[in-house]
């Protein structure tokens, strides 16, 4: 291969500045020493410059476009040129705010779920409201002549407590009314209410849960009253006992009621 052929093959790489070392040196030397190859290189160089100039020439006003672009980039914009939105998660301030909001939301939900003040347990509230909804019972009055509600017949006496009435009611949990039966007793500590839910309400969200006698009991103390809840063994629904009595006594009474459900 002659020097001119070799030069022709590497001409564009040579003009593009992509030859290195000995190759670059050889091309430079040949271009200088060979008038025809030198002329071709000059024509190529002129052509490439002419093409670049033609392509660059279309960009009149480029400086303005770039200046505007830089101005917009430096401004605290929330939308990209062309209308596409800047993803909020790419903005550090919003990302931090979103993280704080997410943590706060989880904390609030946890507080609500575990009944941490100021949140109250929905079921607890519902039971209290149901218990408070009873009209005051006459002290030690004669028990109801027909205390059975459907097939549920509450015991006429629970220890020192006497049955006053038994009736159908509703327990409203999370705004959802659940059919229930309620029996009210009176005794030395005042009224004692037993509530049997007909529908499933799940486990109560009380703060305390105790295992006793191989069973689970949920206990809460609210407004001077103790509340004990348990799952009925037959119906798998929730039963609750509310009274202004010591917890231990209430647990013993709850066990009596629970056994009577069989």
């Amino acid at each position: 291969m002659s020097g001119c052929e070799r030069f022709a093959r590497s001409l564009l790489a040579h003009l593009d500045g992509e030859l290195r070392g000995a190759e670059a040196e050889a091309a430079r030397a040949h271009e200088a020493a060979c008038p025809p190859c030198g002329a071709r290189a000059a024509a190529e160089r002129e052509f490439e410059e002419r093409v670049s100039a033609a392509l660059l020439g279309a960009s009149d006003g480029a400086a303005d476009v770039v200046a505007r672009g830089v101005g917009r980039a430096r401004a605290p914009v929330t939308r990209l040129p062309g209308g596409s939105a800047v993803a909020w998660f790419r903005r550090p301030a919003l990302r931090r705010a979103a993280a704080v909001a997410a943590v706060a939301l989880v904390a609030v939900q946890a507080a609500w779920f575990f009944c941490i003040p100021p949140f109250e347990c929905s079921y607890l509230q519902a039971v209290e409201e149901t218990a408070e909804g009873l009209p005051p019972a006459p002290a030690l009055a004669t028990p109801s002549a027909a205390p059975c509600i459907e097939r549920l017949c509450p015991a006429e006496a629970l220890g020192p407590y006497r049955l006053q009435r038994a009736e159908r009611t509703k327990v409203v949990v999370y705004g959802w009314p659940i059919d229930a039966k309620r029996a009210e007793y009176t005794g030395p500590d005042g009224p004692l209410t037993v509530i049997w839910c007909d529908g499933e309400v799940g486990e109560p969200s009380f703060r305390r849960r105790v295992e006793r006698g191989g069973r689970t009991w949920w206990i809460a103390s609210e407004n001077g009253r103790s509340i004990v809840a348990w799952m009925c063994p037959v119906t798998e629904t929730l039963c609750t006992l509310v009274a202004a009595a010591p917890e231990e006594r209430l647990l013993a009474l709850a066990e009596t009621v629970r056994q009577g459900e069989r």
Partner: protein, 211 residues
């Protein structure tokens, strides 16, 4: 075009290195982008083939570059960094519009390329004057007619003034593919312009005959 003799020298648009530690400042960014305004916009124009889209592309590129200043390393070539962002934004846009070019083109790898040098440009005859709008329009039309795979390397080289390696980095392709695509783009461009030159000569002969 790069001066062959200065290929190893530090390019003038290299961001200041040791003198100013830390990320580029906004005023430095503004100065460096002003220096490459024309090639940046011209490249956007040839990639999009539409002035409004090119303006948008440049502005989005500047926006993204400014927001990514922390990732730019001083001492590296600012121009290459900007063109890489420009091309990425462009590719994202055409992907978004589902107009993306095929990732691999069998025509890319042509072992015969090296054995077939591009046509001798002297066949064009005397080049038209710099202000010849017809020639300029023909060049632009010929470049616009190139397939995307060939157009991008040619524009990044001729307008962006990037080296083969920088084009390879920008496009995310091997340097051999850059050389092959550039070679074929030039060949196609020259063939187009040779056709133009022939038309011009025929036109001139006809005018001469009538006279």
């Amino acid at each position: 075009m790069q001066d062959p003799g200065s290929a190893e020298a530090e390019p003038p648009d290299t961001a200041p290195g040791d003198a100013s530690p830390g990320p580029l400042r906004a005023d430095e960014f503004e100065q460096l982008t002003a220096d490459i305004a024309r090639p940046l916009h011209a490249t956007a124009l040839r990639l999009t083939r539409n002035r409004a889209d090119a303006d948008d592309l440049v502005q989005e590129t500047l926006f993204r570059a400014f927001r990514s200043l922390a990732t730019f390393r001083r001492g590296t070539k600012f121009r290459a960094w900007m063109f890489r962002i420009l091309h990425n934004v462009f590719i994202n846009r055409i992907r978004h519009e589902q107009l993306a070019p095929a990732a691999t083109d069998p025509a890319d790898i042509d072992p015969a390329d090296a054995a077939h040098p591009v046509p001798d440009i002297r066949a064009l005859g005397e080049l038209p004057a710099l202000a010849d709008r017809h020639f300029d329009e023909r060049v632009k039309a010929a470049v616009d007619a190139l397939p995307e795979n060939f157009r991008a390397p040619l524009v990044l080289f001729s307008v962006g003034d990037l080296s083969y390696q920088e084009i390879a980095d920008t496009l995310g392709i091997p340097i051999g593919t850059v050389m092959s695509r550039l070679h074929r783009a030039r060949k196609q461009l020259r063939n187009e312009l040779l056709g133009y030159a022939r038309e011009q000569r025929i036109g001139a002969d006809d005018d001469g005959g009538r006279a």
